[in-house]
Amino acid sequence: MTHTPPSLRQNAAASSRADHARPKSKGGWAVQIFGEILITVGLVLLLFVVWQLWWTNLEANATQEDAVQSLSQEFKQAAKDQSKPSKTSDHATAEPQPNWDPQTPEITAEPGHGEAYGIAYIPRFGENYQRPLAEGTSTDVLDALGLGHYDGTAMPGDIGNFSLAGHRQTNGAVLDRVEEIQQGDHIYIQTAQGFYTYTVYETKIVLPTEMSVIAPDPAHPGAQPTERLLTLTTCHPRYGDTERYIVHAKFDSWQPLSAGAPDEIKAAVGL
């Protein structure tokens, strides 16, 4: 590379400025506009990626935090209401007999489409992981509220398969860390009725059409269910969707809101 004398550089700069001012031929304009359009398209596509992988998460996280906040307010009130009748019994009794059975959970009625009615806690995803749970698995639910409940599948704690879907990279990325889930991990669901504890017994990768994973009894699709199960479904591989990542969990126990939160999620619940 030869060194250009400063005077020459100035000349070049001056002449390029002159170029700019000089009216262009028709072809020159066309080339310039075409180039600018290409650059614009490139920038817009880049912006789209930023929007989708970053902005939709900010938006959805804000929506989901709001939903969790208002639900936990609601549940705190419900907990107070639940504990009222039992308050009449004598406080001094050493160990008050619980008037509920951890193996016979109360079941929430299936709410309307898009309604947030519960909070999911998955300690494996972090001590403070709490996401709203809403009815339906259409994009308007999943994109905004995070975890969507498959219409018609069992409700939390019920016999059958309580099935949820959630995004992995975008829109809050509620199940981004799904592959960290291990057998024996707990998944907690809180509704106005209480806390439902599930224990993970299996994770697997299936084809998107594998309906049996959300069947009432995944092991025997079509059979009458006898167990209380929970299923999470999300896309797989991480940036693809040719498969689905499935987490199956079994019902462990239930406790009403008035009994407080299970120890593992006490800090997150703040109840």
Partner: protein, 53 residues
């Protein structure tokens, strides 16, 4: 094209720079609010997470 727009903005240089920034911001906002959501289903990163037939 952009040069032409910039030259046709009113006011002194600083004002034209401000208007240009405001216009760019408006375009970005419109894209994020209306255009991108409408096209999101064609995105390579928007993934179907549900099981269905």
């Amino acid at each position: 094209m952009y040069g032409w727009i910039f030259r046709h903005l009113p006011g002194p240089l600083w004002m034209r720079i401000l208007i240009a920034i405001a216009l760019i911001a408006l375009v970005i906002w419109c894209l994020m609010e209306f255009v991108f959501p409408a096209f999101v289903e064609y995105s390579p990163f928007y993934r179907d997470v549900t099981i269905d037939q």
